[in-house]
């Protein structure tokens, strides 16, 4: 039987809170009690996501690879480390410190990229032929696909 600390909820999510467990119940345990899990997780998946030590490496790698014309990696970075982004800078836990700059810069990068892209696309759609003249027909995707025969394989 498990003895639990009074007041700790017993539902399935109790694993998210630090739990004190009595030593000696594991058949092979013969050492100090294990420390409780961290109270905060850096990723949006919570306890199913990355452990804190690996989080910084991932954040940095996604940020740097985003510069290779892959701004969606920045978006993934922001979504993945959403708790880091949302916690206010003053009161965020110390573990978030090294991760935060990368995530914030990824967010800025993705915002700039999406702003530029949406502006261009909207101008193209709304402007139409009045703005671009005959060049519009050369640029619109379905004409380009027909000209190059790109969708011929599937019909």
């Amino acid at each position: 039987m498990e003895a639990r600390v009074a007041g700790v909820p017993e539902d399935e999510e109790s694993g998210l809170l630090p739990r004190q467990s009595a030593a000696g119940r594991r058949p092979s345990s013969r050492g100090p009690r294990f420390p409780p899990p961290p109270a905060v997780w850096a990723t949006v998946d919570g306890p199913l996501g990355l452990p804190l030590e690996e989080a910084e490496g991932h954040a940095r790698r996604f940020f740097l690879w985003g510069f290779a014309c892959l701004p969606f990696l920045w978006a993934i970075n922001c979504c993945h480390f959403w708790p880091v982004l949302r916690s206010p800078a003053a009161s965020s836990p110390a573990a978030f410190g090294p991760i935060r700059p990368y995530v914030v810069r990824s967010a800025i990068g993705f915002t700039i990229f999406s702003f530029v892209l949406i502006t261009w696309a909207t101008t193209f759609i709304v402007g139409g032929e009045r703005l671009f003249g005959p060049a519009w027909n050369d640029l619109v995707m379905y004409n380009v696909a027909d000209k190059l025969g790109l969708s011929g394989f599937m019909g």
């Binding site: 039987m1 498990e2 003895a3 639990r4 600390v5 009074a6 007041g7 017993e10 399935e12 999510e13 694993g15 998210l16 739990r19 467990s21 009595a22 119940r25 594991r26 092979s28 345990s29 013969r30 050492g31 100090p32 294990f34 899990p37 961290p38 990723t43 949006v44 998946d45 306890p47 199913l48 996501g49 990355l50 452990p51 804190l52 030590e53 690996e54 991932h58 996604f62 892959l70 969606f72 990696l73 978006a75 993934i76 979504c79 993945h80 892209l117 696309a121 193209f124 759609i125 139409g128 619109v140 995707m141 379905y142 380009v144 696909a145 027909d146 790109l150 394989f153 599937m154 019909g155």
Partner: protein, 448 residues
């Protein structure tokens, strides 16, 4: 309160613990299957025009000289099954030789190819059909980006949010299934039946390639490199990174010597499990295998490709080699089986570790199952929505039966045969009997 609270998870009979989250587990596997089928039905409804056959089916008809008839269909289906068997044996061989970088690179290549080529084609078809005024520059910027990001998400589940990883797998399945629905009608049905039979044989017969692969994986405590959909565990404490975290934070832990590698954890967990619960090693070792790191996948596609291309030009003159390549790509990506979620009877003992040794909490379904379910429903959508509803219900019922059998037998089972059989039976029944009934009722203003 502590006592009452302690009594709840403290000494549950195993069935109560399983039943607590059984509904949630099943729901978490039915949602993505349904989403995949829904997307394929939508794509088929939007994009297919039954009057004009697609160039793909026209080319097959021209190549095999017969058009859409049963012998051609059987021949094509048989070829495909042979290709898949060969590819799976090759995969097993490579897995045996531990060429995981090749396997991983190959899998990455095929996922990227599906997302880029097939995804691009589908996007172009949608744009043309719906006359969306998207410009070429944005398209050229967005497509490789999205394809790369989704391919990364599909292959490296640890680096991206779980939701995105699952969405990427579903996207790959949707695109491949849509591509399959472009085949001629009899070929599609023959293919489905052939794949169901192959699945049954490959997983259950002692010499079957998938069984060989599974036994290798179990022996070595490694994960099979493949695109496999894993449902999110219901209890967050059972996530693998919880275990990794625990191991990493306790350098002086007594679990094992000084090793903190995941494989060591796996082995130790496996040993602990065997000591504690004393059950057969197979499900627990599978469970221990699940916490190992990301799937390492790839296959030497180039050599197999070349071999198949030469075969194809010699044997089936004119059968589009593109078709062969794509088939091989699909064949090697899929693992058509469903793997069990190990029992939780030992949970109370290991509970205080927070490790959840006896359960990874996840049902795994191979991507091939997603693909062929969606192909069946997509083909039903080409006829009418009535058949879609009937086949959808039949497939979900089949999936439920398979999960039931899984809980009963506790080892990897083929997920295709039951669902495909039910789906085909219901399709035939709907087309012959139900439609007649509904049409008569409607025209006589009785019902519907």
């Amino acid at each position: 309160m502590a006592d009452a609270a302690a009594a709840v998870p403290g000494d549950p009979p195993a069935s109560a613990t399983v039943l607590d989250s059984l509904g949630e587990d099943i729901t978490r596997i039915v949602y993505p299957v349904s989403a995949c089928m829904l997307l394929v039905v939508l794509l088929v409804s939007l994009l297919s025009s039954p009057s004009s056959p697609s160039p793909l089916s026209a080319s097959i008809a021209a190549a095999t000289g017969g058009g859409d008839d049963i012998p051609t269909a059987l021949f094509t289906a048989l070829t495909f099954v042979v290709a898949v068997t060969a590819a799976t044996f090759l995969l097993a061989l490579l897995f045996y030789l531990r060429c995981t970088p090749c396997l991983r690179a190959y899998l990455g290549f095929s996922a990227l190819a599906v997302l880029l080529v097939l995804g691009g084609q589908v996007a172009l078809l949608l744009i043309s059909r719906l006359r969306l005024p998207l410009d070429a520059v944005s398209f050229a910027l967005l497509l490789p980006n999205a394809a790369g990001a989704l391919a990364l998400a599909a292959l490296a589940p640890a680096s991206v949010p779980i939701g995105l990883h699952q969405a990427a797998l579903v996207a790959v399945a949707v695109l491949t299934a849509f591509w399959f629905t472009l085949l001629p009608e009899w070929t599609t049905w023959a293919l489905l039946v052939a794949m169901a039979v192959y699945d049954l044989a490959a997983v259950l017969l002692p010499g079957g390639p998938l069984r060989v692969l599974l036994e290798l994986a179990i022996e070595r405590n490694e994960e099979i490199p493949a695109l496999v959909y894993e449902a999110r565990p219901v209890d967050p404490r059972h996530g693998r990174n919880w275990r990794l975290w625990r191991e990493g934070r306790q350098p002086g832990a007594d679990l094992d010597a000084s090793s903190t590698t995941v494989e060591a954890i796996g082995e130790v967990l496996g040993r602990n499990l065997d000591a504690n619960s004393g059950n057969s090693s197979s499900p627990q070792v599978h469970d221990a295998a699940t916490p190992t790191a990301n799937v390492n996948n790839s296959r030497p596609r180039a050599t197999l490709w070349a071999a198949l291309s030469s075969d194809s030009t010699v044997e089936h003159a004119g059968e589009a080699s593109a078709l062969q390549e794509h088939r091989v790509a699909v064949a090697e990506m899929r693992v058509p089986l469903i793997q069990p979620r190990p029992e939780r009877s030992g949970e109370e003992e290991e509970d205080e570790d927070g490790i959840g040794l006896s359960s990874s909490g996840a049902i795994k379904l191979g991507l091939g199952d997603f693909i062929f379910y969606s192909v069946l429903v997509g083909r039903a959508a080409m006829y009418d929505y009535m058949t879609v509803y009937a086949c959808y219900l039949a497939i979900i019922a089949g999936l439920g039966i398979t999960l039931l059998l899984l809980a009963f037998f506790r080892k990897a089972l083929p997920a295709l045969p039951v669902s495909i059989a039910l789906g085909i039976v219901f399709y035939v029944l709907t087309r012959t009997l139900l439609e007649e009934f509904v049409v008569q009722c409607s025209t006589n203003l009785l019902l519907f």
